[in-house]
């Protein structure tokens, strides 16, 4: 097709053989496609470029077709998928940019730096849109804490997330932590960043304007995180040992300066486009910016500021050194750009220009080392649609039931509250600054984080959610459930869900049973997003998450943003006043399949998880939002892991820093009589929330619920300060001192993380 455009090998570089191509994970089809695009054999530099851009991470070669089925439009969408972050419209000319990304593999190797640089990368994705980061969220999955390595990973990851966000000065407003054996050896670290901007200031990462200059801004380029293939493609000598790829180290201080400089460059109108040099570094940022703008670029890698001498173009192109930006600007702006950067103690070096021939060209010391048609480079990767088939084991698990004898319900609730996945995450978010910038309305420990948009009366609410156990047992329902839980968390706070970003963490897609999970979970997410009018504005796919025993539990993390029209109507999660009536919104059918009760108490991760009724979910959201806006609610908490019993206990125990707890007295008699006691207490049917209100608001609240067709059970009253939780059903009574429950719930993680006393 294209006539050959020449490029020559960089002196000393290994010759490109089939072996080298294979080491770069390019299969036969891809190798043929490359030869076809170039009309010749690629140089080693080109091989590196192709291998980066045609990796799953950049090309989405296994997943693109599925991702296209997501709903991505709506009147609230300013920027859908395809840019560094999605953007949703807020009132008064404001907009919110947000995105989630995984840093799983780096965190498995070096938890602290892996997690820290994960936060750094996602912050850059948000501020390159022209948005000031205002919040970070994090979704973490680890193997159980009885394993020392898992504890080490957990401690390092949490410290990494915290140190980075804290230092940059962005509050962490939410997250989740789940523990399951499937993550042993392959922890998941998904970081989400949220930023605010004036819609008019939005900037995209599209290079344009022939003759415009490309500049590298920020940190110097070292040999950090260079694709393992580059190491493998050299003979092992003492010299090459010294040059082995290095762990990426985060520098939040430089990030902070880069953040300020970037926003000044964008809002000051100095630049045409900007993009983070993230995964695959300079290569992917420059190639993607060029392709989006439909232009060519010429880079001179010998002009890139480097940290170490003797770096080859291959290394410079593929380095994943952190805290670097690629900027496109008109030539006459360069001095001004340098002045802005200097103000923030940063370097800005011209390293190339926009060209009109559509070629992605790399020059090093006057030698053309790569010349690839740009559009083909970015869009030419062969696409795959692997077979998808559910495994027999998965089907069998879904129809299994627990065999263990159940303990009494009093003990069962204590076991659930002591399960690290359910227990208080105070040990985690106590390490995250949640109040810097002084805009925080709700810190972690409630259903959603909420912050005020400065100078306005409105706010945004945010959450990340995924119940991977449900996804593992039924990927379609689990996918729906992830979106539904996120929306419920927002609605409980009084926020209207606006849109999502997703992080799809799965195993090896070439395994039919894994790809089945992927396809089905995505179908579930898409259906739920359509039902809730919460379009997908972007996300991230992380595949090949395998532990020695097989794939991780499929984990499609959903990050969702909602709008609170008036922050004075935000609804807290926990009970607030003795004597307030307690109501359960939503239907109870006592579904125990896939429940935490079965998994944590009966040690059986089996059964069909509850089917998610999207119409009922939407109706519940509407009730919660309407009731919040009418100021009818004193508290609202969604029912999820552990069902009603856990939700009641959480509402009684109060927030993470509460100085008092509340008792509660609840009577289940004459409500959903067909449901078993276990089903009532621990069932995990969706579309439910536990609320409290002033006695004089009960009728009004019931009326709002009825209007939306949502069942409303009046269950009881909030009890005395420091009182007991009492649940009654006919002659049966279960009873817990709330102070004791709070201690179990609060200590579950710290006691597992405290170094064991020295054995005598």
């Amino acid at each position: 097709m294209t006539s050959a455009i020449e490029a020559e090998a960089f002196p000393g570089e290994r010759t490109v053989t089939d072996e080298v191509l294979r080491e770069h994970k390019l299969n036969a089809t891809e190798q043929a496609a490359i030869r076809n695009i170039l009309g010749r054999t690629p140089t080693l530099t080109e091989v590196g470029i192709f291998s980066a851009l045609w990796s799953e991470h950049c090309s989405y070669k296994h997943t693109k077709a599925v991702l296209r089925t997501f709903p991505t439009t709506g009147s609230q969408v300013v920027q859908g998928p395809g840019e560094n972050a999605g953007v949703l419209r807020l009132p008064d000319g404001w907009a919110v940019a947000f995105k989630i990304e995984s840093h799983n593999h780096p965190s498995a190797v070096e938890p602290y730096q892996g997690a820290a640089t994960g936060v750094g990368g996602i912050l850059r994705d948000v501020f390159t849109m022209g948005a000031r980061p205002v919040a970070v969220l994090n979704s973490l999955r680890l193997g159980p804490l009885d394993d020392a390595r898992n504890r080490y990973l957990f401690a390092g990851i949490v410290k990494g997330v915290g140190d980075y966000g804290n230092c940059v000065g962005v509050p962490t407003l939410g997250g989740e932590v789940c523990f399951s054996p499937s993550y042993t050896g392959n922890p998941l670290v998904n970081a989400m960043a949220v930023g605010l901007l004036r819609e008019a200031d939005l900037i995209t990462a599209r290079a344009h304007g022939v003759g415009n200059i490309l500049l590298a801004v920020g940190a110097r380029t070292g040999r950090d995180g260079i694709h393992g293939a580059s190491f493998a493609s050299e003979d092992l000598t003492a010299e090459s040992q010294k040059r082995r790829p290095q762990v990426q180290v985060g520098d939040p201080f430089t990030e902070k300066l880069l953040l300020e400089a970037s926003l000044e460059l964008i809002t000051g109108g100095y630049i045409v486009a900007i993009q983070d040099m993230g995964a695959a570094g300079l290569t992917s940022s420059s190639a993607e910016m060029a392709a989006r703008g439909g232009v060519g670029v010429e880079l001179d890698t010998s002009r890139v500021p480097v940290r170490e001498p003797g770096m080859t173009p291959y290394e410079i192109l593929l380095s994943e050194s952190q805290e670097r930006m690629l900027v496109v600007a008109e030539p006459h702006r360069i001095d001004e750009i340098r002045a802005v950067c200097q103000k923030w103690d940063l370097d800005a070096a011209p390293i190339g220009q926009v060209t009109d021939d559509g070629i992605y060209r790399v020059v090093h010391e006057g030698r053309v080392v790569a010349a690839i048609p740009g559009q083909e480079l970015v869009d030419g990767c062969p696409m795959y649609s692997p077979p998808a088939r559910e495994s027999a084991a998965a089907i069998a698990r879904r129809s299994a039931t627990p065999t263990a004898a159940a303990p009494d319900h009093v003990a069962a609730l204590e076991r659930l509250l002591d399960a690290p996945t359910i227990a208080s995450k105070r040990w985690v978010f106590e390490q995250y600054d949640g109040t810097v910038r002084a805009g925080t309305v709700v810190t972690p420990g409630s259903d959603a984080g909420v912050l005020q948009v400065a100078g306005t009366q409105f706010g945004i609410a945010m959450t990340v959610d995924c119940n991977a156990r449900h996804v593992a047992l039924d990927p379609y329902e689990g996918g729906k459930a992830a979106v539904a839980e996120a929306a419920r968390n927002l609605a409980c706070s009084g926020a209207r869900p606006l849109g999502i970003t997703d992080c799809l963490n799965f195993g090896n897609p070439e395994k039919p049973e894994v790809f089945f999970q992927f396809v089905e979970a995505c179908r579930g997410i898409a259906d739920a997003c359509r039902a809730f009018d919460t379009p997908v504005t972007g996300g991230n796919v992380s595949l090949y998450n395998q532990n020695p025993l097989g794939a991780i539990d499929p984990t499609p993390t959903v990050g969702m943003i909602g709008l609170v029209r008036d922050i004075s109507t935000v609804v807290p999660t926990h009970f607030r006043e003795s004597g307030d009536p307690i109501l359960l919104l939503g239907r109870v059918s006592g579904h125990l399949g896939g429940s935490a009760y079965w998994a944590e108490v009966l040690d059986a991760t089996v059964g069909a998880p509850p089917p998610i009724d999207l119409v009922a979910e939407r109706a519940l959201q509407e009730v919660l939002i309407a009731a919040a806006e009418a100021r009818l609610l004193r508290s609202a908490h969604d029912l999820s892991d552990g069902g009603l019993a856990v939700a009641l206990a959480e509402c009684c125990m109060g927030g993470p820093w509460a100085t008092s707890t509340f008792g509660a007295e609840v009577d289940l008699a004459n409500h959903a009589d067909q449901v078993s006691d276990e089903g009532w207490l621990f069932g995990e049917d969706g579309a439910r929330a536990l609320v409290s209100c002033r006695a004089e608001h009960v009728l009004q609240l019931q009326h709002v619920a009825r209007e939306h067709g949502v069942t409303c059970h009046l269950l009881g009253l909030v009890g005395e300060v420091d009182g007991d939780l009492l649940i009654r059903r006919h002659e049966r009574r279960w009873h817990w001192p709330v102070r004791h429950l709070r201690q179990v719930y609060s200590d579950a993680i710290p006691r597992r993380m405290t170094p064991p006393a020295r054995s005598a």
Binding site: K159, G162, D163, N166, C167, V168, G169, D251, P252, F253, T254, K256, L257, W344, D345, R426, F429, E430, Q431, Y432, D433, G434, T435, V436, R437, A438, G439, T440, V441, Q452, I567, S568, P656, W657, A658, T659, S660, D722, R742, Q743, S746
Partner: protein
């Protein structure tokens, strides 16, 4: 007449915006000053805000204390001017020896971000006049290096001169340690004998707006503004 309060931005400061806002809300005239500046431009009081100046590399405050602006801050303090260090600002003041002692890594070796209960020990200072002595308020801390230590001599002197500005205290019903970082004698903040140079770890500027839940920290700023207005008028 409104009083000029300078808020110094170091590279890595994070809390300058909310500090400026708190001063303005208290009726003061707040100005941002760059760390490379060498002059306070007539400010009657200086705030060194929270954050991670120079990334807190080496020790928090260790590099920031050499910033060009610090000579002016030092001169201002020496002339009896008001200097207030919040969190990172407190760390900088200790490193600069404008306040005694040092702030070391939290005893538990982890960052701590949560509300704490502190008792105001003195209200005859430049920023606590609007509190009662003994009043207990709940405000957030967020720091990795907040464990105040000093030699026994210095501690004795702090006591003698009544230089402990606030202490972490136990409030009924809390189930987290009242002292969030292992600080000596539960010290959360100190000042010089005159009450003009002050430093503390908690962040009152984050609780300065009732619409976000509590404005119990705002009185630090109303006190400060009143103080500098009165002095300016005198």
């Amino acid at each position: 007449m409104s009083a000029r309060v300078a808020v110094v931005r170091f590279p890595g400061s994070n809390c300058e915006t909310e500090s400026l806002a708190a001063v303005e809300r208290a009726g003061g005239d707040a100005r941002l000053i760059d760390y490379r500046d060498t002059d306070l431009h007539g400010a009657a009081a200086v705030i060194l805000p929270g954050g991670f100046a120079y990334g807190d590399y080496l020790r928090s405050g260790a590099i920031a204390r050499f910033s060009p602006i610090m000579a002016a801050v030092r001169a201002h303090a020496a002339a009896g001017g008001v200097v207030l260090g919040i969190c990172n600002g407190f760390q900088i003041l200790c490193e600069a020896r404008l306040l005694p002692g040092a702030l070391l890594h939290n005893a538990q070796q982890r960052f701590v971000a949560r509300p704490v209960d502190v008792r105001i020990e003195r209200n005859d200072t430049a920023c606590t006049a609007d509190y009662r002595v003994g009043e207990v308020i709940r405000i957030p801390v967020a720091h990795g290096e907040g464990r105040f230590v000093a030699s026994p001599d210095v501690l004795t002197q702090l006591d003698r001169d009544n230089c402990v500005l606030m202490r972490y205290v136990q409030v009924d019903g809390t189930d987290v340690p009242h002292n969030p970082n292992g600080s000596t004698d539960d010290i959360a903040g100190i000042c010089n004998a005159a009450g003009t140079v002050l430093g503390f770890m908690p962040h009152p500027e984050r609780l300065a707006d009732a619409s976000l839940g509590s404005d119990v920290g705002q009185r630090f700023f109303t006190s400060l503004v009143k103080r500098v207005v009165t002095r300016a008028a005198a």
